[in-house]
Symmetry: C2
Subunit: 343 residues, 2 copies
Amino acid sequence: MNRTDRFLRACRGEPVDRPPVWLMRQAGRYLPEYRRVREGVAFLEMCRDVDRAVEVSLQPLELVGSEAVIFFSDIFVPVAGMGVDLDFRPGPVVADPIRSLDAVEKLSDPDPRESVPFVFEILRNLRAELEKHEVPLLGFAGAPFTLACYLVEGHGSRHFSVLKRMMYREPAVLRELLGRLTDMTVAYLNAQIEAGAQAVQLFDTWAGLLTPEDYRAWVLPCHQRIAAAVDRERAPLILYVQAGGHVVDGMIEAGPDVISLDWRLDFAEAARRAGSRVSVQGNLDPTALHASREEIFRRVRGIAEAGKAARGHVLNLGHGCHPDTPADGVRAFTDAARALATG
Amino acid sequence: MNRTDRFLRACRGEPVDRPPVWLMRQAGRYLPEYRRVREGVAFLEMCRDVDRAVEVSLQPLELVGSEAVIFFSDIFVPVAGMGVDLDFRPGPVVADPIRSLDAVEKLSDPDPRESVPFVFEILRNLRAELEKHEVPLLGFAGAPFTLACYLVEGHGSRHFSVLKRMMYREPAVLRELLGRLTDMTVAYLNAQIEAGAQAVQLFDTWAGLLTPEDYRAWVLPCHQRIAAAVDRERAPLILYVQAGGHVVDGMIEAGPDVISLDWRLDFAEAARRAGSRVSVQGNLDPTALHASREEIFRRVRGIAEAGKAARGHVLNLGHGCHPDTPADGVRAFTDAARALATG
């Protein structure tokens, strides 16, 4: 079974020999090879540099044995295309936070193929290269709620109080902003699929900060619209929520092909809930990549066993790879996935 | 029913007219009256200043209608008593992080009544004052795992990778450190009870970063030892874990009187699990204090309804009050609790 087939079948809940494996933020600072390519290049510059982005996207294939490639970029790349002035220091910082209906209405609404053409060039180049290896290519986007967190707050935050205040006090502004971001996200993901992405992941990093009730009111409708409008015939949709153990039912209800879960939940129970409705992705604690090879193998076996309760399982971390991760740990993780085939 | 009776009965699961209410971090920067007393005084200095600490501890009684008083201090106060050189900028920063057995063994093991006598003077003064008002006095301590997170990492962190690496790579060092901190915590809480605390809360802010399996291996044994050794006849024990929705069963199993939960879980389901075994505390999202008075009342009614599935319920936030919280929102929260009595 080649890597593309295994991955796409697992996403759709069709029989496979063993779970495929890749890692969120797998091209990154933990790889010296990445740091060399990145040296002296600003982060957004790197996202726009087609050759460099292609090069670092491909590194994890050989270096750590990943079995899928996600293109190197950032969730804010298409937002910059909407006319938002943003910088990375190193987290995203928005020069003029969006806090009024007026500011929302000033956002431009360009065709992403024109505003960020380099994204699709990166994808086309990667797809051509990956066809030779029979490895699947993943696209991705930040989910509307998470993008809104930064756009309203102006920067990262532990609690996103400004965003939450808008939710309670100016719901119409937030609703309009989420609507605009949802439209953009649909267009952006479909353009990625058009350019060769064989699956797409939606990252809702901060939606897990909400109560189950607020998640249903604010996040679920965005996810549902995206799940309904993305070209799922051509590319399955993976939905990730960080620390989303309390919103698993809502994630399933949104109707993606795969829900991607972090380690702060009972993975077996979540897989049971997913059942025949969606596949699951996850969920090793990224810090566990510091453990011994034996311990990583033991944990992967446990996760794979738990994942069997769902119709399909893609092995992954529960969160992006940290910069201080040892590459040996990442290699042990992908090796452990391959060892599952032989029992 | 006076406030002390209502609070202690709710903790022990005895019948009450309505849930009592207080807030974590209720004496703090959101109150101008607090900022005035605090002005020009370093944080640890403020914790050692008996008169000032008593004054700010009492402020929330009148200013926002809290129905219990927790003494003003910090979870690191007794750790400083163990010979750790630490500073607040504004989070705790440890000059020499503890990363070896040698460093653990160098920690001193003083009687807290001698190393931090001011804590007990604060408690005695508060108790004398609160007796007049029939308001309960709460003591508290940081839980061993959370203290260890900072002591090993050296400072706050989103992932506490250094601590986690120790967990995987040098379990004996971490086990020894947790053991020492558990002993200290038991002595510290019992001395607080001796000095007049009528209930004590254990804050395990970071234990929710663990998988359910790692929580059982590393955190549960500490909580169990503390629950067994604290003088519960005289003061019920409340156990708080931030973002601990995935470890509720473990929290119950530790055997405290009350589990304190944050808003990122299904509170009704958690209360059902608590059932007749423990009471529950929580769980308003602190950012919801930005909402309108009507919306705060609506949320409190929902939380109170959900809490009925447990043997007892103490109304609280799911996390400490943020510095940008409007005092009006806090007042609406405690008013909403009182309104529950009349339906």
